[in-house]
């Protein structure tokens, strides 16, 4: 078994694609139309284009429990997904300049430094740097 795809539920796939590529810097990898309002849409890290794909899936729009779960996590400030970066502070400053909202500023947690941002599609995303 191999890890090839991880899923992030998003409320609007097109908006999510703009955010994950335009702000976070991912690259679109696969885009397959499924029906009028759903696509199999994945992005990958620019630095690791053969690495795991992130599936931007529209489940909150089609499955009520997914919507409820996503909202509960968001309201509790919990990031269900995290991405590794080399320098959290540098990424934080870059993203702040692109008007990205953060709920936690760069913070040391022992052997890691973290920050938490709002992906504008219903999720908190944690950035993490190993110290």
């Amino acid at each position: 078994m191999k890890v090839k795809v991880i899923s992030i539920p998003v409320q609007d796939q097109e908006k999510a694609l703009q955010f994950y590529t335009g702000k976070l810097g991912f690259i679109k990898k696969v885009d397959v139309p499924l029906n009028k309002d759903s696509r199999w849409l994945t992005v990958v890290s620019r630095e690791e284009q053969d690495g795991p794909e992130v599936l931007l899936e529209p489940s909150p729009n089609h499955f009520e429990p997914s919507k409820i779960y996503q909202k509960a996590l968001f309201d509790a400030g919990i990031p269900y997904t995290q991405f590794n970066v080399n320098d959290v502070k540098k990424e934080y400053e870059r993203l702040i300049s692109l008007s990205v909202e953060f709920s936690i500023k760069p913070t040391e947690m022992g052997t890691v430094k973290i920050a938490v941002l709002n992906d504008t599609c219903g999720n908190n995303i944690q950035l993490i740097e190993m110290l």
């Binding site: 968001f74 919990i78 909202e101 709920s103 913070t107 947690m109 022992g110 052997t111 908190n124």
Partner: protein, 148 residues
């Protein structure tokens, strides 16, 4: 709901926090309050990052941090969840993959990442990546050609 930006390091009691923010604060106080232990393990990891291409062992790493090797082993595992040797191997394999992608030979790669014998390097690489270094290199070159 938009969460207020929080600098957890400056939080005070009574400030309204999300569940996650309060958990961060609680865990930080419960698990990461020993500064000298943190300095030891972070310093050891940095040393490995900067010297993975040299002959490294637990004796040397513990001398650098003025601690016993068993204490260092315990601390590193406690904070990073793996032993210094496991971390060193990860680091070397990651560096080997980059060198192989750039066209280094197996022997050049082996010595550049601190291994002493190409055969032990190839065996370890295969056990970790599921393919021999030479296969990995061919596959990377193929991807490069296809992408061009």
């Amino acid at each position: 709901m938009t969460n207020k930006i929080i600098d957890v390091g400056k939080l005070k009691k009574g400030v309204k926090m999300t569940f996650y923010q309060s958990e961060i604060l609680r865990l930080r106080n419960a698990c990461y309050c020993n500064k000298s232990q943190l300095e030891t393990v972070i310093g050891t990891r940095n040393y490995i990052n900067n010297n993975f291409d040299k002959a490294l062992n637990l004796n040397l790493l513990s001398h650098i941090r003025f601690t016993s090797k068993f204490h260092l082993l315990r601390l590193f595992k406690k904070y990073y969840g793996q032993t210094p040797q496991q971390y060193l191997t990860d680091k070397r394999i990651a560096a080997a993959k980059e060198l192989l992608k750039k066209g280094s030979t197996i022997t050049e790669t082996c010595f550049a990442i601190g291994f002493e014998s190409p055969s032990s390097f190839s065996t370890l690489f295969k056990s970790r990546e599921g393919m021999a270094p030479v296969e990995f290199q061919k596959k990377s070159n193929f991807h490069k050609v296809v992408l061009m």
